[in-house]
């Protein structure tokens, strides 16, 4: 246990790893000077010899809205696990912007650097109110000791209320999240992502369990977020993907099979074979 770890945890001071005098680190700044927000290069992940990702290469531009499709087991969720630090790749490099090496950061540090994630199965804090879920997600000093004395400011309250309205939960602020419907939980989790104000949003099957109407409203929301944020959306729902209108990457057996706009991908013979051939 290093002095740096102790200081970080106990008095909440983050020391710069490379500073010989151990002075507090600057916030990790995202460098998108080459207009790229995410680089995955030759990423391989194996589970007991089975390669869930097999030399995966993927580049996401800043402000882009990218859809990822692919059959079950193609490695879509595993790709998000690698980006968010949940799974460490066996080989390959993952960079957030030009300078942030994701392999060297913990899950919480990756979140602070600006990556937000929605899980495939909606995951919210069921015993906390909808308001409380957004409050915990909101950008803030998220270290243990500072949170002992953290108080909500008026403008933070307003921001939470605005987000609640945006995700259609304005009337459910005090309701425990565990009692919301499946679709409402999906929206709440999206709201939590927004409160984090991430630069890159990873959304794993965000409209599963939503009605057609909710699905289309979600598409509108995502389209409005693109530009300021970069989004990577994993989905099966073709109507939803069409409404998003972004570039599409097809994953198959842990690698990229095809990439392009919807028409190009749908007419690609390899894609047709994977989806229809067996």
């Amino acid at each position: 246990m290093s002095v740096r770890d102790v200081l970080r945890g106990i008095i909440g001071i983050e020391l710069d790893e490379n500073d010989p005098f151990g002075r507090p680190a600057r916030r990790r700044t995202l460098d998108i000077s080459h207009n790229v927000i995410l680089y995955l290069e030759d990423i391989t992940v194996s589970f007991d010899g089975f390669k869930a990702l097999n030399k995966l290469n993927l580049t996401i531009d800043a402000g882009e809205l990218r859809c990822i499709i692919g059959p079950n087991g193609a490695g879509k969720t595993t790709m998000m696990d690698v980006v968010t630090g949940k799974t460490r790749p066996d080989s390959g490099t993952a960079f957030f912007g030009q300078s942030i090496d994701l392999a060297s950061l913990t899950e919480a540090q990756i979140a602070h650097a600006g990556v937000g994630r929605k899980f495939q199965k909606p995951t919210v804090f069921e015993r906390h109110s909808a308001f409380g879920n957004l409050e915990l997600a909101m950008t803030a000093d998220k270290r243990a000791l500072p949170s002992l004395v953290a108080r909500l400011r008026d403008e933070e309250r307003d921001r939470i209320a605005d987000t609640l309205r945006l995700i259609g939960l304005g009337g459910e602020a005090d309701r425990p999240a565990g009692l919301l419907s499946h679709g409402q939980k999906q929206w709440l989790e999206i709201g939590m992502l927004l409160m984090q104000d991430p630069r890159l949003l990873l959304l794993d099957e965000p409209v599963a369990g939503m009605t057609d109407d909710e699905t289309m409203r979600t598409a509108e929301l995502f389209v409005s977020l693109a530009g300021k944020h970069s989004l990577v959306v994993v989905e099966h729902d073709m109507a939803f993907i069409e409404a998003l209108g972004g570039r599409i990457t097809v994953l198959h057996e842990g690698a990229v099979l095809a990439e392009g706009d919807l028409a190009a991908v749908q007419n690609d013979p390899r894609v047709i074979e994977v989806y229809l051939g067996r």
């Binding site: 246990m1 970080r8 945890g9 106990i10 968010t84 949940k86 913990t106 899950e107 919480a108 979140a111 602070h112 937000g116 994630r117 899980f119 995951t123 919210v124 804090f125 069921e126 015993r127 906390h128 409380g132 409050e135 915990l136 997600a137 998220k142 270290r143 243990a144 000791l145 949170s147 002992l148 004395v149 953290a150 108080r151 909500l152 400011r153 008026d154 309250r157 309701r175 425990p176 999240a177 565990g178 009692l179 939590m192 984090q196």
Partner: protein, 370 residues
């Protein structure tokens, strides 16, 4: 910038309850003990004062356990260790206060004379000072918990694995303390205390002073932990309990949230242990036995996890029952304890606290995973 007022720490009913508790502990019990002679119907006996004082120490431990188990979702089966460390640290001071009044008329504690030791071991240095011993009874469990917790939580040891490791740690410590060479009196531990701060340890005034300090410590522990769990820190702690990866991916590092609750919890146990030893008059390695640590979890389960007041009630209920059983039917106590645990688990998932709280609303959130 206007800040909205914080919700009060206690509502009117809880404030009244706290007031009644403190009045009873600081005025009523001492008055009944001193004013009425033994034999009088209103007399509170020395036995009762000691018993209640002891149970209040256990109640502090129950509050500590509720912080880490009820709110943190981390079941410790090693809280007896932290309690014992606090007790031993303060017990060293009580041993030094015996002075030359021991059986061997030596400055050294009797068990050291018996072992033919000529000097105090280095870690007994300073133990003649009350403040040093008091500080040590807080620092020793805090440090032990911090170091153990740091490695366990950093390695992401969870659930039943964590519980088993805490149990093993406590068991190892018990074996260590059983050894005479460890320098803590072997299997006899510390006993035959004479004085605390120069006052005779069994005089009614000393007993009542210790009783009052314990009541104050219980009230402060309760208020402090309640403040903790009501803060944003506390809400994050329960969020980590309920959905740890969600909490990580919104930027909270579970290590430090768990480690802080764990260390605070161990520290409170140390305080309880330090208050327990002068009242009960003995500390030995059996405090670190497997059964003791499990009993702590039973108090909290019986009282109702995640309610603070419930575990206090649980500590009182179970220990009052225990003191009656061990006098009347000593051989049945463990059966009763097991039965109680089963009945509470099956019939009263929210413990005693569930009885006097409003019945569960239909739209109440789902319970935490056990």
């Amino acid at each position: 910038m206007r800040e909205p007022p914080l919700p009060p720490l206690l509502d009117a009913r809880q404030r009244a309850g706290l007031g009644i508790f403190l009045a009873a502990a600081l005025i009523l019990v001492p008055a009944l003990h001193l004013v009425f002679p033994p034999g009088h119907v209103l007399h509170v006996s020395t036995y009762t004062v000691t018993l209640l004082g002891k149970i209040m120490c256990y109640a502090i431990v129950a509050v500590a356990m509720d912080l880490i188990w009820g709110y943190g979702g981390i079941l410790s089966l090693g809280h007896g260790l932290f309690f014992a460390l606090g007790g031993y640290a303060f017990g060293m001071y009580l041993m030094r206060q015996i002075g030359r009044d021991g059986s061997y008329r030596s400055e050294l504690p009797d068990f050291m004379v018996f072992l033919d030791w000529k000097d105090l071991p280095w870690y007994w240095a300073g133990s003649e000072h009350f403040l040093w011993a008091a500080a040590l009874s807080i620092a020793a469990p805090a440090l032990a918990a911090f170091v153990f917790g740091y490695f366990a939580f950093r390695s992401r040891i969870k659930g039943v694995y964590f519980s088993i490791i805490t149990q093993a740690l406590t068991y190892a410590a018990m074996l260590l303390f059983f050894r005479n060479e460890t320098g803590f009196g072997g299997n006899n531990g510390f006993t035959d205390f004479k004085r605390v701060l120069g006052y005779p340890i069994t005089s009614p005034e000393t007993r009542l002073a210790l009783f009052g300090v314990t009541a104050g410590a219980l009230a402060l522990s309760f208020l402090f932990v309640r403040w903790l769990v009501n803060s944003k820190y506390g809400r994050v702690l329960t969020a980590i309990r309920d959905a740890e990866s969600r909490a990580m991916f919104i930027g909270y590092d579970p290590l430090w949230f768990k480690l802080f609750a764990w260390t605070v919890s161990a520290t409170l146990c140390g305080v309880a242990g330090a208050l327990y030893v002068p009242q009960v008059g003995i500390i030995n390695p059996s405090e670190m036995s497997v059964a003791n640590s499990i009993e702590i979890a039973v108090w909290v389960a019986v009282g109702g996890r995640g309610t603070l007041i419930g575990p206090i009630a649980g500590a009182f209920a179970v220990n009052l029952a225990k003191s009656w059983f061990t006098v009347s039917f000593p051989e049945y106590w463990l059966f009763f304890l097991g039965l109680l645990f089963i009945v509470v688990t099956l019939r009263l998932p929210r413990g005693l606290a569930g009885l006097w709280r409003a019945p569960r609303r239909k739209d109440a959130p789902p319970e935490a995973e056990p």
